[in-house]
Symmetry: C2
Subunit: 225 residues, 2 copies
């Protein structure tokens, strides 16, 4: 774990935060789960100090809720939270799209076009999971290409939380998936035409629409509060 020359040049609390973050985002640690310090420490093979530091970090990220003297638990994820997160993601991804189109190189441009094609490939092959994976990568790549530290940091914080909805809402309905894919196609057309305004607007609507849909699915399945 430590080997492969990557060595161990990361503090314990950072590594612990990464591990716990991954487990929470993936739903491995379910919402509401109590996080007993000593139990987690034994499981991770560390002492309470770095664990507590990690938990504080996750609290600020909105993944953990701490009540003083009562302990930490995995944050509940409410419909309202998810809706609010997408409220912010829409304008932020629109901004990211705008910047990415302005700043990306020709190679990066072909890279993101490839990513789109791969996603469409999965879509046409009815590979929903592949579709999601590539969609996720597509949006993240777009933000990366914006070369904007504050945007990236804010975006990852929000997507980490929104991703928690995924495991609650496992199935997109076909019409909504069709709609999302159509939006991506239109977006790529705007990218090819270098129409920044159009691309930003399409992205805004697409993210907003995705948010609406996640909310609908959650409301149906009744899994979140």
């Amino acid at each position: 774990m430590n080997s492969t020359f990557g060595l161990q040049r990361q503090p314990l609390h950072t590594q612990v935060a990464e591990i716990l973050r991954a487990q929470i985002v993936s739903g491995d640690l379910p919402p509401g789960e109590r996080m007993n310090e000593v139990a987690l420490c034994e499981a991770l093979g560390i002492s309470r100090t770095p664990l507590r530091e990690a938990v504080k970090i996750l609290e600020l990220e909105g993944l953990v809720t701490i009540r003083p003297h009562k302990g930490a638990m995995v944050s509940e994820i409410s419909l309202r939270d998810i809706g609010e997160i997408f409220d912010l993601l829409a304008p932020l991804e629109a901004l990211g799209t705008r910047l990415a189109l302005e700043r990306m190189t020709a190679e990066e441009r072909t890279g993101i076009l490839d990513l789109h094609d791969r996603m469409i490939g999965c879509y046409e092959a009815n590979d929903r999971e592949g579709c999601f994976q590539n969609d996720y990568r597509f949006h993240n790549t777009m933000i990366e290409l914006a070369r904007h530290d504050v945007l990236r940091a804010t975006h990852t914080g929000l997507t980490n939380r929104s991703q928690r909805g995924r495991y609650l809402a496992p199935r997109f309905s076909q019409p909504k998936l069709d709609e999302a894919m159509a939006a991506h196609v239109r977006l790529i057309e705007a990218v090819r035409a270098d129409d920044i305004d159009a691309a930003a607007e399409i992205m805004f609507d697409h993210v907003r629409c995705t948010g609406e849909f996640v909310l609908d699915t959650l409301r149906q399945s009744n899994l979140a509060k």
Copy 2:
């Protein structure tokens, strides 16, 4: 402070984080200042554990930079950072304006109109400091009225960082101040007319313009890197 039955049930690390945050935002702790753990602990009269937890929190907020095994320092604030922060603030405050206009009550509406009048009063009395104070309150109030937790949290994180520019750029030029006040007047007109789209757009341009101006001032004074 403790009284009125609300008692004093706040953990040490939270209080310490608040104190340090205030000192950093106000410029009391200048950018680049090394934060020696034992020195700070003695100054605050606490042990290293809660201090370290507080510093971790401030790191995630972007106010502190930690290099492993080398210690923490107050984050440098770069021109690029400030520009990026305003890049996000513009669309977020526009969103906040939109939501606030939709959701605020009649009393809240008169409250924010009063706040505006007070600011204009300071402006006409050439009270720049009062102007800033009320402007700051105005924007914060607008975000509060949006009743949107994720927006509020993100917004405070960003303004805490942008505020650090204030002490670097103490003087707005008169023309820019005039421009900002004019924008506020137009914004309030839109509020009175209940024209949500117009208000959001004016707010967007206003924040963006403020960002541009802070950058200009900083570039002149050559205080930030």
